[in-house]
Symmetry: C2
C-alpha cells in the first residue's frame, strides 16, 4: 500500500491485520460513564413481502452484522429526519416555533448519539469482526467497508456524553440565528460571548474524543474535531501540504498579477437581475448538471447556504439572490449543486442508511462542489454557453458586461478582498489558511476569544494585504464557527486540490470537455463523477479513492498546474 | 358527581377511590410480549440556567413523577417532530422522498410507542400514584391530571406491539396518497385491496387494546378505536344520543323544507375568484379569529385538509382553492382555524409536551372547529361584515350573489347531497350517522369490504334520499378510512353538539355577539373560547369541561334548538 498523505494509522490498518485492533479493542471499549446505560431494543429486521430487496435489508450470515445494519438503518433515519427538520427550520417554519424546534432537534441528536454509543453496538461490532475473520468468504468488500465504517462511527461517539451532544446540537442550530444577528448589527460583544460558549463546548467534546486515542498534545483536540469532517485527517500531513501550497501560490501570484495587469479590467454587471429570473436560471443550470428535482429542489434563505440533505431528499438552500449580481447566486447554486449531485449519486438503493452508503466527508464533498463551481463552472467555454442565454433572460441584449470573455474575466479576476465568499480562486487559499491557523489557536486556547478581532485583522493584513472595515467584514463573516464547525475550513482547500486532481483524470477520459461545455452539455462529466466517485459511497477511504481515480496520492501539483494554466499561461 | 353520558368507568373513577385501580393495576401491567424489552435511558432532567421555569421542567417532590415528566416531554417532542415531518410531507417535500419519508415517520412512531409502552413507565406511574396517596398536599390539580393522563396514554399503548404500530403508521401516511389516486381514478378495485389491509390492521390493533379491558363483545374493538379520538367514549351512550338526534332532525326537516320553500333560492356565485386572493382573504379571516401567524401559517395542498400541529407550530393545510367558489376555501380555513386557535391556546408555556397540556381529543377539537365554521361563521351578521369586503376583493361590486343575505342563504340552504364536505348543517348528521354504522360493521366484520359500495349507496338512499353517481362521489369521498381513522366520524356530531352547548353559554356571557360579528370583531368570542376551554388543556375530562362551561352534561338540546333558531324560526 502506498504512503497516504493525511490519514490516521487507524485507517491504514483497515486492510492489514485485524489482530492488533482486536487486542486493543477492550481498551477503548471501556464505557464512558453515562453513555452506555441504555439497552437498545433492536429494530425489527427486514421481513417478508415489505422488505426492500437491498443489501441494507438482506440477512447476512453473521446475525450480529444483520442486527448492526438494522441499528444503523435507524440511526440513518434519524439523520434524515434531522436533515428534514433543518430544512424546514430554515425555509418554512414559523418563527415562533424556533425555540421548541431547537429542543426537538437537540433531543433527536441525543437519541441518535445514544443509539450509536451503546455498549450493545460495540459488542456486536466485536462479534461481527470475529465472524469476518473466521468466515472471510461471507464478507464482500461492501460489507467489510460497512462494518469498518460502523466501528469508525462508534469510536467517534463512544466517549462523548449524550448530554454534551444534546447541548452541542442545540448550540449549533442556535448559532445560525446568532450569526445572522451579530452580522447584521456588526456586534462583536454579542458574538464574543456566544463564541466563547461554543469554543468551550467544542473543546470539551474534542477532549472527550482524545481520551480514546490517548493523545494529550495541544493540537490533538483540534485534530479530533477536524476528523468529524475529514475522516482520519492528520494535522501534520495537512500542515505539510498547506505549507507547500502556500509557497507555491506566493511564488505564482506576481506572475498572475503581471499577466493580469496587461488585461482590461472586466466591465461590472449592471442590474437589475430579478430574483425570480435568477432562481429560474439556477434551477436550469442544476438541471444541466443532472440534479434530480424529483428528489430535491432549490430554495432560498435570508442567511447562508446550507449543505447536506439525503439522496432521497436533497433540498439545496442558497442565499436569497442579490438583484445586482446574478453571478453570485449562480456561483452558490453551482457549488451547492455539486454537493447535491454527490448526495443524489450515493448508492441509495442498496445502502440507503448504512455507513458505507454515505459520503466521504467534507473534503471529498467540497471537491465535488468546487469541481462544478470553480473548475468547470469558470471555464471560458461555459461562459460562451451562458452569455447569449443570460442576455436573453435578463433582457440585456448585447451589453458588454454580458459577453463571454467579460463574464469569464469577472469570475477569474484575481484581487485580494477581505471577503472569503467573493474571493477569487487563487487567493481563496489564504482565507482558508488563516482561518485554520486561528481556529487551531482558539481550540488549543493559545488565542483568547477576546483577541480574535485583532488577530484576524493582523492575519488578513499579513496574508492578503487587506484590512476589513468592520467586524462583519472581518471575523464575523463566516457562519462556520457559530454553528460549531471548527476544523471544517481545511476541507475547502483539500477539496480544491482533489477537484484539480480529479479534473486531470477526467480530461484524460473525456477529451472534449471545452466543446461539451460550450454546448451546455454537462452530462458526460457528471456521469464521470457519478461512476468514478459518487456511486462508491464509502466503499473506499478518501485517500484510496483519490489514488484509484487519479493514480496518485493527494498532492498540490494538479491545483498549482490548474492555477498556472488558467491564470498564468493562457491568453485572456 | 353527575351522570356523564359517554365516558368509561375508568375515567369516572378518577376522583374516586384509587384503591380499586391499584388492586387491578398488576393485572393490566402484565407485559405484552415484545413491547417491553427496552429499558429507557432517562432523558436529562431540567438543569441549571437552561431550564425553562415551567411546570414541565420543575422538580416534583416525587422523583418518579419528575422522571415521568421528562419521559413524556420526549414523547411529546417526538409527536411534534412527526407533525412537522407530516406538514413537510404534504407541502414541500420532493416527490421522490415519498417512500423513505414514510419509513422515517413510521420508524419514529415506533420509537414513540416503545418509549411509552415501557415497563419502566408503568412502574413509575405506580410509584407516583403511591406518592400521591401518601402526600396528597404535594399534588396540585394539574399534576394530578397529568399523572392520570400519563396512565391513560400508557394503557392505550401497552398491549399493542411496536411492529404493529410501525406498520400502522406507515399505512396511515401511505393512505393519504392512495386515497388521492383512487379518488382521481374512481378506482374501487385499488381501494378495496388497500382498505382491506387497513381494516385488518386496525382490527388487530383494536383487539390488542381490548385484551386490556377483557372485553370480548363484537363492538369492543370499534369502541377501542373510537377512544383514540374520543377518550373514554362508550358506544352505547353515543348510540343513545345519536338515536335521539336522528329522530329530532327527521321531525324538524319537513318544517325546515316548508319554510325554505317559501324563500328564493340563493343566486350561485360566479367566479373567477383568483386563488391568491382567496388565500389572502382566508389569512385575513384567520387573523380576525386570533390565529397567531408567528406560530403558524396557512398552506394549500392538492388533497384533503390536514388537522393537527403543535402550539408552537400550527401550520394549517387546506385544499387548494376552487376558483369558482371562494366560500368553500373560506369554510375550510374557518374550520381549520377553529382547530388552530384551540391548539395555539393550549397551556404551552407551563405544560408544552406534557399530557395535561394537550387537547381533549377529536370531539372537543371538532367543537372548536365547528363553532368557528358553522355556528359563528354562518351567522347572517358575519356575512354582513364579509359582503362588501369580498365585493371589493374580487371586484364584484354590487353583484347579487355577493349580498349578505344571499351569502347567508348559500351557506344555510338545506339540500341533501351525496357529498359530506359540502353538506348543509342540518343534513350533515346523516352523513356522520351512516358512516359510523358502516365503519362499525367493517371493523366487526359484519360488513365485508367488497360489499361496501352497495351498502354505502343503500344507506345514502335511505338516510338522505340521494344516490352517488360514482364511487368517488360515494364511498371513496372521505380520506378518513384510508388514513386509518376508524371511529373518528362521531366526533363531528359530538363536536357539533358541544359547540351548540358552548354557544348557549357564550351568549349568556357575551350578549352582543351579532353586533360584534357585524363589525368582524371575533376577539371577545375567541377570548371566551380561550379562557373557558383552550387554556385548560386536559386539566378536566371533556365531560367535566362541558358541565363546567355549560352547566349541563352533553346533550342534544342545544343543537336541536340551534337548528330550530336558524332553520325554522327565523325570517330569512
Amino acid at each position: 500500500m502506498m504512503k497516504v498523505p493525511f490519514f490516521s494509522k487507524f485507517q491504514i490498518s483497515k486492510f492489514k491485520d485485524w489482530v492488533f485492533q482486536l487486542a486493543s479493542f477492550k481498551f477503548w471499549l471501556r464505557p464512558f460513564a453515562g453513555a452506555r446505560q441504555k439497552i437498545l431494543k433492536l429494530p425489527s429486521p427486514a421481513r417478508g413481502k415489505n422488505a426492500e430487496c437491498s443489501k441494507q435489508n438482506q440477512n447476512h450470515d453473521c446475525p450480529n452484522y444483520t442486527d448492526l445494519k438494522m441499528i444503523f438503518r435507524d440511526i440513518g433515519r434519524m439523520n434524515a429526519i434531522i436533515e428534514a427538520l433543518g430544512r424546514d427550520f430554515l425555509t418554512a417554519m414559523p418563527d415562533g416555533a424556533y425555540k421548541s424546534r431547537l429542543g426537538q432537534m437537540a433531543f433527536l441528536s441525543r437519541r441518535r448519539h445514544e443509539d450509536l454509543a451503546d455498549q450493545k453496538v460495540a459488542d456486536k461490532i466485536e462479534q461481527a469482526k470475529t465472524h469476518q475473520k473466521k468466515c472471510p468468504d461471507q464478507w464482500d468488500e461492501w460489507d467489510k467497508a460497512n462494518l469498518f465504517e460502523m466501528e469508525s462511527m462508534y469510536r467517534h461517539h463512544c466517549r462523548v456524553s449524550s448530554e454534551l451532544m444534546e447541548k452541542r446540537a442545540r448550540l449549533s442550530y442556535e448559532g445560525r440565528r446568532r450569526h445572522r444577528e451579530v452580522l447584521k448589527n456588526n456586534d462583536w460583544q454579542a458574538a464574543q460571548g456566544f463564541l466563547q460558549e461554543m469554543i468551550d463546548l467544542q473543546r470539551e467534546v474534542a477532549e472527550s474524543k482524545c481520551l480514546l486515542d490517548n493523545q494529550h498534545d495541544n493540537e490533538a483536540p483540534y485534530q479530533a474535531l477536524m476528523r468529524e469532517y475529514i475522516p482520519g485527517a492528520r494535522i501534520s500531513e495537512i500542515d505539510g501540504l498547506f505549507t507547500r501550497l502556500d509557497s507555491k501560490i506566493k511564488a505564482l501570484l506576481p506572475e498572475v498579477m503581471e499577466r493580469q495587469s496587461k488585461q482590461e479590467e472586466p466591465v461590472p454587471l449592471s442590474g437589475p437581475f430579478p430574483s425570480k429570473l435568477q432562481l429560474s436560471l439556477n434551477k436550469t443550470l442544476l438541471g444541466l448538471i443532472g440534479f434530480d428535482f424529483n428528489r430535491g429542489g432549490l430554495y432560498e434563505t435570508g442567511h447562508n447556504p446550507v449543505e447536506g440533505g439525503t439522496p432521497d431528499d436533497t433540498r439545496l438552500v442558497i442565499k436569497t439572490s442579490d438583484t445586482h449580481n446574478f453571478l453570485d447566486s449562480m456561483k452558490s447554486a453551482l457549488h451547492e449543486g455539486g454537493h447535491g449531485i454527490y448526495i443524489q449519486g450515493l448508492p441509495r438503493t442498496q445502502w440507503r442508511y448504512q455507513p458505507v452508503g454515505q459520503d466521504l466527508g467534507a473534503a471529498v464533498h467540497e471537491s465535488q462542489a468546487l469541481m462544478i463551481e470553480m473548475i468547470l463552472g469558470r471555464k471560458l467555454e461555459f461562459f460562451e454557453y451562458l452569455s447569449p442565454r443570460v442576455e436573453g433572460l435578463f433582457q440585456k441584449f448585447g451589453e458588454p458586461a454580458m459577453q463571454p470573455d467579460n463574464l469569464y474575466r469577472l469570475k477569474t479576476w484575481v484581487k485580494a478582498t477581505p471577503d472569503r465568499k467573493t474571493a477569487d480562486e487563487v487567493t481563496y487559499f489564504s482565507h482558508i489558511y488563516m482561518r485554520m491557523q486561528l481556529e487551531r489557536d482558539l481550540i488549543s486556547g493559545k488565542l483568547k476569544v477576546r483577541d480574535l478581532p485583532d488577530a484576524w485583522n493582523a492575519k488578513m493584513k499579513e496574508e492578503l494585504g487587506v484590512e476589513p472595515q468592520s467586524h462583519a467584514e472581518g471575523c464575523l463573516q463566516d457562519v462556520h464557527w457559530f454553528v460549531g464547525k471548527f476544523g471544517y475550513f481545511p476541507s475547502y482547500t483539500l477539496g480544491h486540490m482533489m477537484a484539480a486532481q480529479f479534473h486531470e483524470s477526467m480530461k484524460r477520459d473525456i477529451q472534449n470537455i471545452p466543446d461539451l461545455l460550450r454546448e451546455g452539455n454537462f452530462a458526460p462529466v457528471c456521469a464521470w463523477l457519478g461512476t468514478k466517485i459518487h456511486a462508491f459511497g464509502r466503499l473506499y477511504r478518501s485517500d484510496e479513492l483519490v489514488e484509484k481515480v487519479t493514480g496518485n496520492p493527494l498532492n498540490i501539483n494538479a491545483l498549482t498546474q490548474h492555477f498556472e494554466n488558467r491564470y498564468v499561461a493562457a491568453a485572456a
